[in-house]
Subunit: 307 residues, 4 copies
């Protein structure tokens, strides 16, 4: 496909361990490249891919599609507008049960060099939102565990569950948990910020809603609002249904591609590989913190991997 | 009061920094002692109090009243019955906004030697449940932050927000967050366990309910049950209302005192000061992990403080 | 008890069919009378009781305790303050499963002359709130059904499920449903009003909350607020817990009795027997509408039963 | 378009008052016809359209798209499988705020002969589900109200809010409410059935979920399950996302058209015009009950309108 002259954009949907190589090859042929997340299975690979697209001067994007959910996009906009004030706390978790059953046979998802860690596979979505909404992460602590260590007589090399503590450069603090071993939690993903003036909560199980609590609000109405993120003034709303009807998962992809196509061919595309690599640096810092049993600075990872 | 011969039980509701001294004095006069949580502001103080009641041979209890909420008690019973299998993951958070307003003047709650850390004040409830449901904690990582560092020109010495990673002796992993600076989160407290066979979720904002997901359940009914923790077979239910009516916060105290009185004067009372001290050891380990920027073993704290 | 001189207040908790007689006897001895709801099993009986207490000049109250839940009381206050504007629509339902099992043996609850209809037993709570919040009902339509018509070889004479359409004198419209045959619905009770300016929703399963949608609110925050009905400015809040902790069913009784005792011995007590009789007139109108298959004016019932 | 030979299927999305004429013309040219709901603004018109497509022998379908939501389709399947037993009670409501603002100028939606009543416009969706899940309706009571009776100096001839009592031929009872004047209720649509063995609840605001309570279930787990209607065994699930991701409103249309295309050109299509006319008969019976202030038998409407 990379060789075809009638293909202008390549969307890489293969296992993460193959992303960098494919992206590099596609960029070398002048293709714009969309890469599903995580960008790579290591920061070094991510940098390699980012360098390749930068060097080739091609448009490039990472498939952090959740940014394009209307409610998540509204959350970002409200943060930027200052409604929560200075962010102090960020928390996010992603709970799934996809690895609970020990009888699931070994496949590439259980091989870290091909499928990436759970920190990167699930956590990169959350960390992308963290960097986007809160800013750069300075330092992390972490832990990881694999409960079913062997499948089909092969060693499982990915973490099944990991959690991390984050200190952002701004001074905000964060907590993140990702797990693929939470029974009857299919894909339960939440992100919350607490600022000095307000709170915003997104819960994927109610993906058309955003909860908002405002410190300066009438105390007699103490509590949170549930915003239906479909008002015509909200991101993407005009392209979708009347308020109350709701979009699904698919809308995140459609909105993402819509945004990219609107900026074709001049760009910029966002988030791009450089941002994908920045997320990967945090993922790797958490991986190292977990295995090394210590706090790790993101810059330490980043500086080590720069060519 | 301690001097009165017609008082048999003392319930200590003073600031945490005064608990050990009062408990010691009451025990010395032969009073049974109930102490509100946390037992102390340091593990050393907690041990001192525990030694005092043990030495005096008086009944003693710590006011971890949330154990006595019907749904929390049912959660413990279901775990003990094995419905979730081996616990792999534990997570808990307690979000409040009581310290958000920087204009709240300094009082003893902002002085760690009197009010205890937020890790101990809010977290001790969560950690009591952790030790009760999952077992001893081996090692912890942590971080703490204080955003409003001075009030009424006095230095605030407690953390406003802290989070921790836990490794239990069983191999289970945990994540805990406590914060008093989450706008419009009045007292939002959740505890969840994921075992290899099931999930249980308690959310204080719906305190009469317990959510339960069972891996072996009919896949065509994929999801979780919301158990109304008021069935006549459930803990404490027979003493309360018909199913569906619901109890409030007060029931946790009434149930606790009911349990203690039922065992008067022979005991044992539960949780007792020894358990309160065990919780305090984990709190202190998290405090040390946060300030020392390193993982801390609970036994390291415990062994250091033993007389 | 009625004969004892040291008893000043009688609280009648016997089956509804006995209320009028006991209330009349108690009033004749000068006792203040609290009568659990419904006041009677017919409007004629209710009027008899109301006349008795009025004639005897004794304080009297009907146990519509749900008025005294903080969130319900706040709902009434907000309506009175005009936040929803002119009420156009009222809806309420009460779903229970207490009569689902056909093996439950016959007892007085299945005998309409003793236990009252389900319209009166469950519906009187809802209709009390309707009259309190929206005003008098002009006319009703209704339907009733009994699915298990015989128990222990005795005929069941109460409705198991009924529903009604209401036209209020103000022009507002209402819908009410009561059922004791809704599987796994223990006591699910909701009340909602829609005015020309706003909406208020109370759901008993979250009894410390009140949802509020305001038409004039910022459209960019489209949705409803979830008010935690425990702010210190809210009804009853100062007597209870810090915000976020929550009360249970028992608080409705305690608040009710607190209100009555505060007004002892001068009164007035509220809701009183006259209000209880007004509710009973609507209940009976719905009963007649259901059995007569026609709309029934409440005044038709009321005028027929006046002495 | 009807005249074009390369058009095989016509989807009529014009105002309801024009449906019958367009459908008749399209059928006369041999086109298959999909008609958005409601099929017409009167039962007579609906019968005319149904006769036309029957006479022409063309495939025909009414756009009751909500049937095709996975959770609604699962609800139907579970009812057919008997999991709730014999249905006793059905309730449904649809609350919107689209007509709240009195400044919205007059357009065809406010003209009953063009836009159909709110009973037909919103209620036909609910009544289609009622006939599909519970069976034919025997008799109805109803009420309707229009609060803003004139817009742009023109008389509003549609109801803004209506409610109805239903007796099904099976003996089940139903309650339905539709309103376009419920502030901050964008499109809140719920359907519930209570059978002698179980309860099923669908709430559009959580459209990927179905709640299920089973009478024979373990009483110690008293409550309802929240089924995530995306398991691979569920209707339409294999065509969509992994469990937990969720579909939106659009999926109802895509699933509907998918079903129709799978059966092209042999049919049958479902629901068809005959079913659309059956729904319209119930709508009209409710309209007549509301205006006539009496119970109306659906057969009375149906027999009157048959050619």
């Amino acid at each position: 496909m990379i060789g075809r002259s009638d293909v202008q954009v390549v969307d890489i949907c293969t296992p993460p361990g193959t992303h960098a190589e494919i992206a590099t090859a596609a960029a070398a042929r002048g293709k714009a490249v969309i890469c599903e997340k995580p960008l790579a299975v290591s920061y070094a690979q991510a940098v390699e891919a980012a360098e390749a697209v930068r060097g080739a001067g091609v448009l490039n994007a990472v498939g952090f599609n959740y940014r394009r959910l209307p409610a998540v996009s509204l959350m970002k906009r409200m943060i930027d507008e200052g409604v929560v004030g200075t962010i102090r706390l960020w928390r996010a978790s992603w709970l799934s049960d996809e690895f609970v059953d020990p009888k699931i046979p070994f496949d590439w998802r259980f091989d870290k060099t091909m499928g990436a860690s759970t920190i990167a596979d699930l956590g990169s979505h959350l960390l992308d939102l963290a960097l986007w909404m809160v800013g750069p992460v300075d330092e992390v602590g972490g832990q990881s565990e694999t409960f079913v260590r062997s499948r089909s007589s092969q060693q499982v090399t990915v973490d099944e569950a990991s959690s991390a503590l984050l200190r952002f450069e701004s001074g905000a603090r964060g907590v993140m948990e990702v797990a693929r071993t939470a029974v009857r939690r299919p894909c339960d993903f939440t992100v919350e910020v607490n600022g000095d003036r307000g709170t915003l909560v997104f819960d994927y199980s109610r993906l058309n809603e955003l909860r908002f609590g405002e410190g300066a609000d009438d105390p007699g109405l103490y509590g949170m609002r549930t915003i239906r993120a479909e008002h015509e003034s909200h991101p993407y709303a005009k392209s979708w249904w009347p308020i109350g009807q709701g979009v699904g998962y698919g809308a995140s992809f459609i909105n993402h591609l819509g945004d990219l196509l609107e900026r074709w061919p001049d760009g910029p595309w966002e988030p791009d590989f450089a941002q994908g690599a920045a997320v990967q640096a945090v993922c790797q810092a958490i991986e190292e913190a977990a295995s090394g049993h210590r706090w790790v600075r993101v810059n330490e990872v980043a500086s080590r991997s720069v060519p």
